[in-house]
Assembly symmetry: C2
Homo-oligomer: 215 residues x 2
C-alpha cells in the first residue's frame, strides 16, 4: 500500500516548524531559513533546488534523498504555495519556485478558494483542492499511480493528517537553533495516544533526524 510520508520537515530545538510572520521575503517566516541549513548543504538539495553540482554527502544527504524517492504526488498547505491569503486576486501568483518547480509530479494545494489547475514546466501541475484533506489525499493517491504521496506541510496541514492517523511515516529534523515563536509541530497533537512511535534517531553535525512511524 503506498504511503503518506512527511519528509525533511525541520523544527527548531524549541519546537517550531516555521518562524512567525511569513511574507514574500520570508517564505519560511522570520528566522525560518536558519532551520534548513542542514538541507541546503546537501548534494540532493543543491541539485534539486539550484541545479548545482556539489554539496555534501553523508547523513543529511541520505535523509534529503530519501524524501524524493518513490514520490508520485505531493500535498501542500496553501501557505507553502505562497504568501497570499483569502481569495485569489488573480492568477499571477505561480508559486515560490519559478517556471520549473522542484516537484515534477502533481501537487495538490489545500485552499478554501477555488482556482483552475496550473500547469508548470517539468511535469509539475498544481491542483487546488477546496474539499479538505481527505479528498486531497484521495486525489493525490490516484495521481501518484502506485507511488507514495509526500506531505510537504506546513505545520497546520501535517497536524490535520496526523489527527486522523493518515500519515504513515514522518521524518523530522531538529536544527540546533531557537526560533522563540511560530507554529509548533507537536502542539495539540498527542502522537503517543494516536499510536505513533519514534523508530529511528541519527544525528549529523547540523541536525538530528528522527523517524516517527504509525504503529
Amino acid at each position: 500500500m503506498p504511503k503518506l510520508r512527511v519528509e525533511s520537515f525541520t523544527i527548531s530545538l524549541d519546537g517550531f516548524g516555521a518562524g512567525p510572520d511569513q511574507d514574500l521575503n520570508n517564505p519560511l517566516g522570520v528566522g525560518g531559513a536558519l532551520l534548513h541549513g542542514w538541507a541546503f548543504s546537501t548534494r540532493t538539495i543543491q541539485k534539486k533546488l539550484f541545479g548545482a553540482e556539489g554539496g555534501e554527502s553523508g547523513i543529511d544527504d541520505d535523509f534529503a534523498a530519501r524524501g524524493f524517492r518513490n514520490v508520485g504526488a505531493w500535498i501542500l498547505g496553501r501557505n507553502m504555495f505562497g504568501p497570499i491569503r483569502g481569495p485569489w486576486p488573480d492568477e499571477s501568483w505561480r508559486g515560490w519556485w519559478g517556471d520549473d518547480p522542484v516537484y515534477h509530479v502533481p501537487v495538490f494545494v489545500l485552499t478554501h478558494h477555488a482556482r483552475p489547475p496550473l500547469v508548470m514546466k517539468g511535469g509539475t501541475t498544481f491542483h487546488f483542492v477546496t474539499e479538505g484533506p481527505v479528498v486531497a489525499l484521495e486525489r493525490a493517491r490516484e495521481a501518484a499511480g502506485g507511488k507514495d504521496v509526500r506531505l510537504g506541510g506546513g505545520v497546520n496541514v501535517i497536524q490535520q493528517y496526523l489527527r486522523q492517523r493518515l500519515v504513515d511515516e514522518m521524518h523530522i529534523a531538529i536544527a540546533p537553533v531557537l526560533l522563540g515563536a511560530g507554529e509548533r509541530l507537536f502542539d495539540g497533537v498527542d502522537l503517543r495516544a494516536l499510536g505513533y512511535a519514534c523508530t529511528q534517531q541519527q544525528a549529523s553535525r547540523q541536525a538530528t533526524h528522527f523517524v516517527v512511524t504509525r504503529q
Copy 2:
C-alpha cells in the same frame, strides 16, 4: 562569577520534560522514565545513583559527568523533592533518594509551605524556601561558596528562572521517545527574545545533547 546551570534535563521528541500524573510510583510522571535511558546507562549515574561500578563511557557519560562538576548547591522545585502537594502533613517525607541523597551539598527546595531544614547523610541538607526563586538563588549562591548552582527542575521552576534571564547555561537532552502529554519545557518561554542561543549539539545513539547559553 559562579553560574546557574541546568544540566542533563531531558525532554521527549515532542517536547515534554516529564510525563503526566506524577505520584509515588511515577516520580517522573507516567512514561517519564523512558526519557532517562541515556543517563541511566552512564558510568556517572550508575555510580552516583546506585553506587555501582560499570555503565558506559562516551558522549552521554561526558554530559552526565559535567552536570556534577563544580556544583556547590542545588535548587529543586517541590515536585522534584516529592509527590506531596499542599501543606506538609508531617515531616516523614525525606525525598526520593533514601538516607544518603545524591546531592552531597545544600539543596534549596522551592515550596509555598515552610518546613525546618532536613539534614541527611553524606552532606546533603534540604532547605525549604518559601520566599520565591530569587531568594532561593541568593541563598544557594551563598551556600555554594564560589561554586556554581545547579537548577534541577522541574519544567515550571526552570521556566521561572529563564523568564528572569537568571539561567547562565542549560544542557538539554532530547530522547527519541514520544510522551504525548505532560509539561513542555519551551511552552510560554521565548528563549530567542530572552537572548539565549543554542551553542552546541552532539548526539549519541540514545539522545541528542544541546547546550543553550545566555548571550
